[in-house]
Symmetry: C2
């Protein structure tokens, strides 16, 4: 009995033997009662060690496929499939969907498709939500990894996170005007987890939650998964329209307000100081907590460093979220949260029953990075590069002579562009894919995806200036192409306001 064994394969030889024999037994090639060769002989025939054969036979025994009798050797078992009992002929395949919880069953994956397109190698991606990995301080981080405390780096940290990192963040947050003690800070596996914890802690099905419209698409998904009613409040150039907010607060009594006040995703807007104060006052008046999502706060290109909303809140209404994923390696999955004690206590329970704690080595190395002032240095190098890319993107768009109007963001990752009303989002996306360019369609950022049809989000941090130049050129080309197709209709539309 000679089998085809590959000693250089990554699958261990004994498993190869087991699998081959298993297949022959299950297929009936080796019938019940067949006596396998004694281990030593089998080993000689196949040029493997006897212990390897013993291991393989043991595996088969554990599977109930063979039995061994003293003096008789190893024999293919009578019932080679013990689980195929009489009753099993009636087994129905399980239909999973009726078993799913209603809210989860209703959610569809709207994100993966455009994301997958953008991860193809030959595509210039403006769809990303991350920085340029080639600009991350890999060498520095690796150097630090060597100096980590050996005992600590392997073990559990507290559920709330590694305490020295929480201390460091408490100092670092003063840059954003925030005073928070380490005990107010919890380390998360990315700041998205803070959105999820807030949703789970506050939202029952049917509860209302207020968001900016448009807003971060995964936040929409997350609030949907909680069964919430999502109330969108429009933005203008000064941020959330607090005048509209007041009426909605009275009507919907939301559980909380979700906002990205600084370098908003997707629009790049910074909420003005007046609006921030108005928002806080409305929160106080209606006693509604605010979830401030601040992943981009450090990414500013002008000298006006924006203050966090949390820094203005003297009454503990704001839950604050931020992350390392936008300026450092997103694959590390480390974010943090600042919240009042009753909220942190509930979140600690959720942390215990979800992932227990953020990855320990990542927490230790980020602590080191902050301690050695790596963050300041890194931002100092990074920001001019991202500013240059933003400027490049804006200048190419300008060559389009108003084809896609856009506001100039003073920081963050994105341009939010209006496309001509005659251009169909779907057609543009697939034409761009053919040309090798990707971006995110505007509708993804609206709770009702029927809106946002005439917007697209362009990321300018992920690819080089050269690729930006080429990619935006292709995008403009695609838009012009689709726009011309409907030139007649377009001219009529444009002339209306003049008449």
């Amino acid at each position: 009995m000679r089998l085809a064994i590959n000693k250089h394969a990554s699958t261990p030889v004994y498993i190869q033997i087991k699998d081959a024999l298993k297949e022959q037994i299950l297929s009936g090639k080796l019938p019940a009662g067949f006596i396998l060769p004694p281990e030593r002989r089998f080993a000689n025939i196949n040029d493997v060690s006897r212990s390897t054969v013993i291991k393989a036979y043991d595996e088969l025994k554990a599977l109930g496929l063979v039995v061994s009798y003293r003096g008789k050797g190893t024999i293919v078992a009578e019932k080679s499939e013990p689980e195929k009992t009489h009753e099993e002929s009636h087994v129905f395949p399980l239909s999973w969907h009726p078993l799913f919880e209603k809210k989860i069953n209703d959610i569809n994956d709207t994100v993966s498709d455009p994301m997958n397109t953008s991860h193809q190698h030959d595509v210039i991606s403006f769809a990303a939500g991350i920085g340029d990995p080639s600009l991350f301080p890999l060498q520095q981080i690796e150097g630090m990894q060597k100096n980590l405390n050996q005992a600590e780096r392997l073990n559990f940290t507290a559920v709330e996170g590694y305490y020295p990192l929480r201390e460091r963040l408490s100092q670092w947050m003063s840059v954003r005007g925030i005073s928070a003690s380490p005990k107010d800070i919890m380390i998360l596996s990315g700041s998205m987890q803070g959105i999820d914890f807030t949703a789970r802690t506050f939202l029952s099905p049917g509860d209302a939650v207020i968001v900016e419209e448009p807003t971060f698409l995964q936040a929409i998904q997350c609030f949907k998964a909680a069964g919430a009613k999502i109330i969108g409040i429009p933005l203008d150039r000064h941020g959330l329209r607090t005048d509209i907010l007041e009426a909605q607060l009275a009507r919907y009594k939301p559980k909380f307000i979700y906002t990205i006040p600084t370098f908003h995703n997707p629009t790049g807007t910074v909420m003005s100081m007046e609006r921030r104060l108005a928002l806080l006052n409305l929160a106080y008046k209606f006693q509604v907590p605010i979830l401030e999502d601040d992943p981009y706060g450090e990414l500013y290109f002008s000298n006006d460093k924006p203050l966090a909303l949390h820094a203005l809140d003297r009454h503990g209404y704001v839950i604050y979220l931020s992350t390392f994923s936008k300026v450092l390696f997103p694959g590390m999955r480390v974010g943090w949260l600042i919240a009042p004690e009753p909220v942190l206590k509930k979140f600690a329970i959720l942390k215990q029953i979800t992932d227990l704690q953020a990855n320990t080595p990542a927490q230790l190395v980020l602590n080191q990075f902050l301690r050695e002032e790596g963050m300041e240095q890194h931002l100092h190098q990074l920001l001019p590069i991202y500013k240059g890319r933003r400027d490049m993107m804006l200048s190419v768009i300008e060559q389009g002579e108003g084809l896609i109007p856009v506001d100039i963001p003073q920081g963050g990752f994105y341009l939010w562009c209006r496309i001509p009303p005659s251009v169909s989002q779907k057609e543009l996306f697939s034409l761009c894919r053919d040309k090798g360019v990707s971006y995110l369609p505007g509708n993804l950022f609206f709770p009702q995806q029927s809106e946002g049809e005439h917007f697209i989000r362009l990321n300018y941090t992920y690819v080089s200036q050269e690729s930006i130049k080429k990619g935006i050129g292709l995008l403009l080309e695609a838009i012009a192409q689709l726009d011309q197709k409907s030139d007649n209709r377009n001219i009529k539309e444009e002339s209306t306001p003049i008449v």
Copy 2:
């Protein structure tokens, strides 16, 4: 204006200056209109660089605490606390608890207290749920880290996990008798996350879920957080009592059955082959999925390597969970899941709205570890040590002459001991704390914590044989002490069955 500046503190000097000035402005020591010294003079007085002072002043400007006028210098702003507007005098502190979702509000943190006790340095901990960190292959892992692909290690992986790791796990799982393609496998941030995803995907409030009784305590918390009705089915030495299960399946129509068939937590039981087949047949008959939690499957001390329940399931009813956290560094937080496609799709959405993906460097290094057959070697060294510790614990317990009866587990991490009925769980726990020993009280493992009063769970993998000897000695001493206190009552109780 000379400030107390510590140039050797970890807080940057400019932040120290900013904080000091901020405090003086907010406290009114520096009134509105006060002109701060010119930057150069301030720098000279405090022996710092001028650029440091500029940075500090800029910070204060960003906070709106000072303004600078050309030719006039930097002046404390009129309204140093812009947010203290008229309306704010009416602000009420937010009462958070009424805002919390009911299910979450009802959950209390029963775990942290005993866990915290056991993390004190002078305590011998039998409360742990992890292996001995000093036995983990740190050197080897560090060596591998150096060889990782630079580009990959920083970036995002797919939501479902790093594909090469999924391939590797697909091979590794054949050791447990499981055939799964890489596409059936999803990488999780610890296997707990799989329990949480299953709860969120299947359970609406009021839905029933079946668990073994006792069972993994965080699973109980997790199902409670989903608002589920938790139906406990007792165990005996052969595992889950499938005879009792059948009636409960008919009565409660549970959404799924949660089981730890192999080296059960907390009892150490291995479900017999007959029971496994009976369980599967009941699942098929009632069309109920099974969530198989298998963190300990590789940790067996005898030659009878247990087969996973998933390996016996020919009809795709079993969702399988396992983890690296019991044999390798738990702080890495990497587990995995094998499930049918419709389930994986929903879980991928949940992954996107919670933490997006497991930590990338951890996934890469574990892939390398499996590829170089590090796992086999590591287990080969580890298991005899844990077996030795189990034996040591058993032998000390034996010296107690039946004071705490216990079954001998053939693998896993725990002994499940019965304590005399006269001994109060609470008193024992606090007496042991005084003596410097910790463990987990049995009630934590029951959905109704009134049960389990006469059991304790002892972990034998976390501390050395020497500590086990000493710690179990102290534990027996404590039990004997409390048992004697109620000797009279005890004798009566014990004599009852004889009469």
